[in-house]
Amino acid sequence: MKLTGAQILIKMIKSQGVDTIFGYPGGATIDIHDELARHPDLRHILVRHEQGAVHAADGYSRAHDCVGVALVTSGPGATNTVTGIASAHTDSIPMVVFTGQVPTALIGNDAFQEVDIVGITRPCTKHNYLVKDPNKLAATIQEAFHIARSGRPGPVLVDLPKDILQAQIEFEMPKETALRSYKPNYTPNKKQLAKAVTMLKEAKRPVIFAGGGVILSRASKELTSIAKLAKIPVTGSLMGLGAFPGSHSLWLGMLGMHGTFRANMSIGTSDLIIAAGVRFDDRVTGNVKKFAPNAKIIQIDIDPTSIHKNIPVQCPIVGDCKTALAGILDLMEKEDPKDLTIDRGPWLDQIAQWKHTTPLKYEQGPEVIKPQFVVEKLYEATEGKAIITTEVGQNQMWAAQFYHFDKPNHFITSGGLGVMGFGLPAAIGAKAACPDKMVVDIAGDGSIQMNIQELMTAIESKLDVKIVILNNRFLGMVRQWQEFFYDKAYASTNMENAPDFVLLAQAYGAKGFRCDDPAKVEQTLKLGLETPGTVIMEFLVEREESVYPMVPAGGAITEMLLV
């Protein structure tokens, strides 16, 4: 049977189990959208900006634990995806982005809406393709999904010239993808697993450090069992929040620049760190030379480049986190439980003491709302069960500190790249993936304006998201740095000139509520969360509140600025 390139594309997308794509049409992709209209079982969510499509695919991927898909046109449509692709690349999010391209005969001619998107995205994709032969289209799409979801996941871009989409060819389902040059290693070395258990038995002050890799490999259960069995306290990177229950007594809170006092001190004091699915980002390590000076490190990662990159590791384990942690757990279960918890009492007492003396704190007075208070009340109002997305900056850090995630796939944030404008489209994607869940974007007044147009997407597609704006009329995180390190010279960070967010919500057809009274925070949250449809809840908060603790850039993580 002869099919067009566009028909093959849709057939192949469906064959990968995809039921939702986020897109925006253009001249180069008309054929695809024309065909899509005949496939009601493949939902196309029309965004209002291509960046939104990619972030939405990212949110969808993380909430649903699958490959996200975005579809955009050539030229500016393609370049608008770059930020979203780079964010997904840094956070290892499986995603396939389809871009339209000018007809193959015009490539290289500086044609209308032509860019070399394969060249542009080479460093920020896991892999990318320009399809030049319609006979290779189906196999290429299958390969793209395979690469996106396997090994260390990541975004893959497929560039589709218009003549390829229009070509009519005999369709044959491709054979299973087998690449001689790409065979990720999932199985960890058994000797290394045994070595890890030996190191664990010798450790007196162990800490588990969980990252996004634990969530991506669905290894939370194994990680949690290890922690409980050997009474090992657990900290996480921003990307690792939810990998271990945030309400458990062994949970230390987040690690790093805005980590909790006890998490940072634990790492500084620890004699053994079991790092799973982390890459020791600079926001986590602070000064690498002073990072965990007393600790041996076991590092589990599927990507060998993550190992020994920033931090020397004594026991590297290359492989899938879930398989490796399950292997370690198996070996531990054969040991006498007493041998696994030697001297754990004093260590846990020390941690409890740090928690007691220096908890995360703020003081909510009667006059002005504290942003942390809003997040804490949101946590209570949603019983910790909402999917939370964030923008980037203070809002993101307060969300990470004061909303306690008990489950993976519930905290969706642009961790590595730090993209402002991520939260709203990501929330829309998460809602599309999990229609029965409450999805809340914790936003700042600055970043919400970066992709505010996606309100229309939420409303049109009936993807009800709740947006909590912590409005301090500043670009708060930059202002905080200016306060600490630039003599309070608040250059270019004042955001007093802002739209009326309540009226703005109404203009889009959403609901808007504003609150400036600490006594009415809970009431406003309740109202906003219970009101059907997409809702903005704007909280006018303390203007010059800062995120604490803070490790100044380049400092040791145990040297924190505290409130």
């Binding site: 080479r122 320009l130 990507d303």
Partner: protein, 163 residues
């Protein structure tokens, strides 16, 4: 950290953009390429890239891992610590003043090179050899007055299969 000269032999899929992926990896991560040679192998779908880089031991580990991570890279073989044959080809245009011609011919002879062109005022010499021979030869010709040099990067093969 102490830097060393490393010689990598990399087999890649012969596809458009592969060289760009490798070059981009080096520029994007601040790694250094001293020389690079690319050509197809006996298998028309596979190209061999021979690369020389100067860096420390930790960086070469990262380079090898990152190269291997590229989807189109089939194998990365570090020849540095192995037994291998290495060659570079160079064409060297050198001033041939009458009083220096005999000396140039002597050096060319000792190094088993060839004069491939004789002009009124210069010779062009073809030389092939490993990096050390290359450097030694150039330094001896330097006093004669080198006009210009065109040189390939190193190419190399391991002496034993699979070692």
């Amino acid at each position: 950290m102490k830097t060393n000269r490393y010689l990598l032999s990399i087999l890649v899929d012969d596809e458009p953009g592969v060289l760009s992926r490798i070059a981009g990896l080096f520029s994007g991560r601040g790694f250094n390429i001293d020389s690079l040679s690319v050509a197809t192998t006996a298998d028309p779908n596979v190209s061999r890239i021979t690369m020389v880089t100067n860096c420390d031991a930790q960086i070469i580990e990262q380079i090898k891992k990152h190269l291997h991570k590229l989807i189109n890279v089939i194998t990365v073989n570090d020849l540095t610590e192995k037994k291998y044959v290495e060659r570079q080809l160079a064409l060297i245009k050198v001033h041939a003043k009458p009083e220096k011609r005999a000396e140039i011919l002597r050096i060319v002879d000792i190094f088993r090179c060839k004069i491939v062109h004789i002009g009124h005022s210069h010779y062009i010499i073809e030389m092939s050899g490993n990096n050390e021979k290359h450097e030694a030869f150039i330094s001896l010709l330097q006093p004669m007055g080198i006009v210009e040099i065109a040189s390939t990067g190193s190419i190399a093969l391991a002496r034993e299969n699979g070692k």
